[in-house]
């Protein structure tokens, strides 16, 4: 007799762009995530935090369908990971921007070409590529440095170039895996300001960090991970003042509620 796993019976939020329902993930025999459940809706700004090895990157990887759950369900923009045709994954990736701690730019081509690359791969027309690249490079303030190679940029500028590349296909979801990990506080703040601006245009942003100062200053909804599990999922009662300075943005007492 085939038993129905009660986990699969759970109601699923249809508005969620990202839905995790009792998800386990194991790499070979190493367990990385256990019983992860949360949803995120359009325009949400989600902050993942927790110690090293807690499973932050694993969650982002599941969202990008670079990994698939061992148990439970992951639904991204209505696509069910367990039923996903692996050939269709590239199509999902076109709706997801992804930035990393180590920028991952192609170091043999200019900032412009790095950003244009994302459009080229997707098959955008040449004329449109020019327009879109110009738009995002202006947004991240790198239009006048477009001819430079990545190594001729500062770390913060490289991260902005990577964000421009992630934005250029107008993604519905932006994933940022410790985007500020290699940056000093000033550049970190610039990067987060950019993420906020992308979020303002309706993109759901999920970013991971283990920097507690950043969490305290910018966290609107914070999921704390520990040892592969969600330790807490907390939302701020009041909106964060996104225009304020890093040092001004500490939590006020009594500001937190359970999400």
């Amino acid at each position: 007799m085939k038993r129905i796993d009660p986990r699969e019976q759970e109601p699923q939020d249809p508005r969620a762009v990202i839905g995790f329902y009792h998800v386990d993930l194991a790499y070979k025999d190493q367990t990385a995530l256990q019983n992860i459940s949360f949803t995120a809706s359009n325009g949400e700004f989600l902050c993942l935090t927790g110690p090293s090895g807690a499973g932050k990157s694993s969650i982002l990887r599941l969202i990008a369908m670079d990994a698939f759950p061992t148990k439970g369900q992951v639904i991204i923009r209505g696509m069910l990971a367990s039923k996903m045709n692996r050939r269709k994954v590239p199509l999902l990736r076109r709706e997801i921007g992804y930035v990393f701690q180590d920028f991952r730019l192609l170091d043999d081509r200019s900032v412009y070409d790095n950003v244009a690359f994302a459009q080229l791969v997707v098959g955008v027309k040449s004329a449109d590529i020019k327009m879109n690249v110009m738009r995002v490079l202006t947004q991240v303030g790198l239009w006048n440095k477009r001819h430079r190679l990545p190594r001729q940029l500062s770390g913060g500028e490289q991260q902005r170039a990577a964000i421009a590349r992630a934005m250029v296909n107008s993604p519905k979801i932006l994933l940022a895996d410790e985007p500020t990990g290699n940056l000093d506080p000033v550049n970190a703040q610039e990067t987060i300001d950019l993420l906020f601006r992308i979020n303002d245009s309706g993109t759901c942003v999920v970013f991971s960090t283990h920097d507690q100062q950043i969490v305290k200053a910018f966290g609107e909804r914070v999921i704390v991970m520990n040892d592969g599990r969600i330790a807490s999922d907390i939302k701020r009662k009041t909106m964060v003042d996104r225009t304020a300075n890093l040092t001004d943005r500490m939590y006020q007492p009594g500001e937190l509620i359970n999400a």
């Binding site: 990008a64 999902l92 990736r93 076109r94 991952r104 080229l120 791969v121 955008v124 040449s126």
Partner: protein
């Protein structure tokens, strides 16, 4: 469908692999070129042998010498009987006088020796030519056996040794060609597969980022397929070029030697292109799946 910008990108990427590792690629093409050269030389030799064989076959004919004791009526009656044998195209009577006359002309200055003869020693004969379909050893032997049984016939001569030897060699060359072709096939696919693997390893960042921004596997593969194809074509072209140069030197010594036709050259290059494709395809089958992680 690919957009203009994508085609430009693919062209650039395919050549970039060459450009980045000029030495490796150069050496690879030299190695493949030389193994393809062996194949091309053997193929050319087979081709020439076949050409010679065809020539020898077309010159197959038969002389049927008749008993001296036959009277002219009996001799004349043989002609229609010969003509109805399947495979026989033409029958020409050569009387003993004509034979002697021909012999005399062939001797030229030395013809004087014939004046000492009291009787004509040359028998009358029929010269038989065959239809194109019958110009092979089996049919000719069959016809010979049939005629040899006739009581009027003294002796039958035809140039079988020449065709025999050629047929043997042609079969041997064909076999050698096949075996070499197989070895070269495997070797070239292997070498191309290895260089493409190297390119892919060197481009792992590029592949990773392509996956990151949503490139399909097909798109990621294209430049590598093009690179393998290009290597195959270049190696094939090199081999062809060398054979062409060598055979133009040989043609001065060996008159009647033939070279590949344009279609055959195109076919050979196509074959090399397919080898290149197969090589890069086999390289990718393993590599791309291993590299699935972002």
């Amino acid at each position: 469908m690919l957009k203009g910008a994508q085609v430009r990108y693919l062209m650039k990427e395919s050549f970039a692999g060459f450009h980045r590792r000029k030495l490796t690629t150069g050496v690879t093409i030299l190695i493949m070129g030389s193994s393809l050269l062996v194949l091309a030389v053997l193929t050319l030799a087979t081709l020439n042998l076949d050409h010679l064989l065809a020539k020898a076959r077309s010159s197959i004919d038969m002389r049927v010498f008749l008993l001296e004791s036959l009277d002219p009526g009996q001799v004349a009656e043989l002609q229609p009987r010969l003509l109805v044998i399947p495979g026989v195209k033409e029958v020409k009577f050569i009387s003993s006088e004509t034979a002697l006359h021909e012999f005399r002309t062939s001797l030229g200055q030395d013809a004087g020796v014939l004046d000492f003869l009291e009787t004509n020693p040359l028998p009358a004969s029929y010269h038989i030519q065959f239809t194109a379909g019958a110009r092979n050893l089996d049919s000719v032997r069959q016809i010979r056996d049939e005629i040899a049984a006739w009581p009027e016939v003294a002796e039958i001569i035809f140039n079988q040794g020449w065709v025999d030897a050629l047929e043997g060699w042609s079969a041997r060359f064909r076999m050698a060609n096949l075996i070499t072709g197989l070895i070269v096939f495997i070797a070239v696919v292997f070498v191309i597969s290895n260089t493409v693997k190297l390119t892919m390893a060197a481009s792992s960042r590029l592949i990773q980022i392509q996956k990151l921004v949503g490139a399909t596997n097909g798109f990621i593969r294209l430049p590598f397929l093009c690179e393998g194809m290009l290597q195959g074509v270049l190696a094939g072209g090199l081999a062809m070029g060398l054979v062409a140069v060598a055979s133009s030197f040989m043609q001065n010594r060996l008159s009647g030697m033939i070279f590949f036709s344009v279609e055959q050259i195109a076919g050979f290059i196509m074959f090399c292109m397919v080898l290149g494709l197969l090589g890069s395809w086999s390289a990718m089958r393993k590599y791309l799946t291993l590299q699935s992680e972002l």
